[in-house]
Amino acid sequence: MTEGPLVGLVLVSHSAAVAESVAGMAVALAGVDTVAVEHAGGTADGGFGTDADRIAAAARAADRGAGVGLLVDLGSAVLTVKSLVEDEELPARARLLDAPFVEGAVAAVVTASTGADLDAVEAAAQEAYGYRKV
């Protein structure tokens, strides 16, 4: 399963710093640099919020032909990605992953690096909801 293109990932947050640093941490913890992990945080003018055009561009940049998983934090990040998916403004096999942002990102990057398909990456990210902390 390691032949062929890998699933790409996009991290979308209200905050540019959060999106960028979670992307960096997921890649570092995964210990790989083979997965395309893009980040799209904050608004075009550097404020807190989401920018649909930047998210769509990040999804295109992460697309290697095996599909793209988008992880989001809250509020407008969720709603903007959902509406982009609904209106087919993302690459054909791009999908919102229902997962916790940080834990899901690490699980998704590790799983994608094995050559797993988008369904498997989604399942791994989703499983992160099950890791109880207390």
């Binding site: 404020g47 807190f48 649909a52 709603l79 903007t80 509406s83």
Partner: protein, 203 residues
């Protein structure tokens, strides 16, 4: 019959109302939100105004789809995809007709409001824009003025509600006693529709 010019005027009238009321919307949002609703919507509708002026679309549906796209990309907050979805879903439901009837607009708005409910996972009573939009669409059968009144009342009726969606829901009981900013701006959109209809019919 309503043509593309009618819908363009509706959007421009909404933009003017948002400009006028931006401070009030932000003030409402500072009570239970993150104090950016007025500024965000103003930025979005400024983009709508520019897009409609640069390249005026030829059908009612196209006016709403283009406006919705501007809101999704420019607003930056949750109201962007919500209003964007409302206008785009309504515009798509209108199809490619060059002129549409009042009844067709009513049916299309009903679809648009349904799309907003689906996107946000919300229902009337959750203290959201649906609390103004849902009664407005229901009242549209009695005319545009009735829809404006219903939206305004719907927005005021959010005051005693406890928020169940969005940032305000984290406040729990402290969200009670404040008018919802999204329902308030929705009432502006419906009011602008009534203003436009009245101006066109010469009332």
């Amino acid at each position: 019959m309503l043509d593309a010019e009618f819908f363009r005027r509706w959007m421009l009238t909404t933009a003017a109302a948002v400009d006028r009321e931006a401070d009030r919307l932000t003030e409402l949002d500072s009570a239970i939100g993150d104090a950016d609703h007025g500024a965000n919507l103003k930025r979005g509708f400024t983009a709508v105004r520019a897009a409609l002026t640069e390249e005026p679309p030829q059908t009612p549906g196209a006016v709403l789809v283009l406006s919705g796209r501007q809101l999704i990309s420019k607003v930056g907050g949750a109201s962007g995809p919500l209003y964007g979805t409302l206008l785009r879903a309504t515009g798509k439901a209108l199809g490619d007709d060059v002129e549409v009837t009042d009844a067709a607009l009513r049916a299309a708005l009903d679809e648009g409001v349904g799309a907003v409910a689906k996107l946000g996972g919300a229902a009337p009573g959750d203290k959201t824009m649906l609390d103004a939009l849902t009664p407005a669409v229901a009242a549209l059968g009695d005319g545009y003025g009735a829809a404006r009144a219903a939206a305004g009342k719907g927005a005021e009726d959010t005051i005693p509600l406890r928020a169940r969606k969005g940032r305000a829901s984290y406040l729990g009981e402290r969200s009670i006693g404040h008018q919802d900013p999204g329902a308030t701006s929705s009432a502006l959109l419906v009011g602008a529709l009534a203003d436009t209809a009245e101006a066109v019919s010469g009332d």
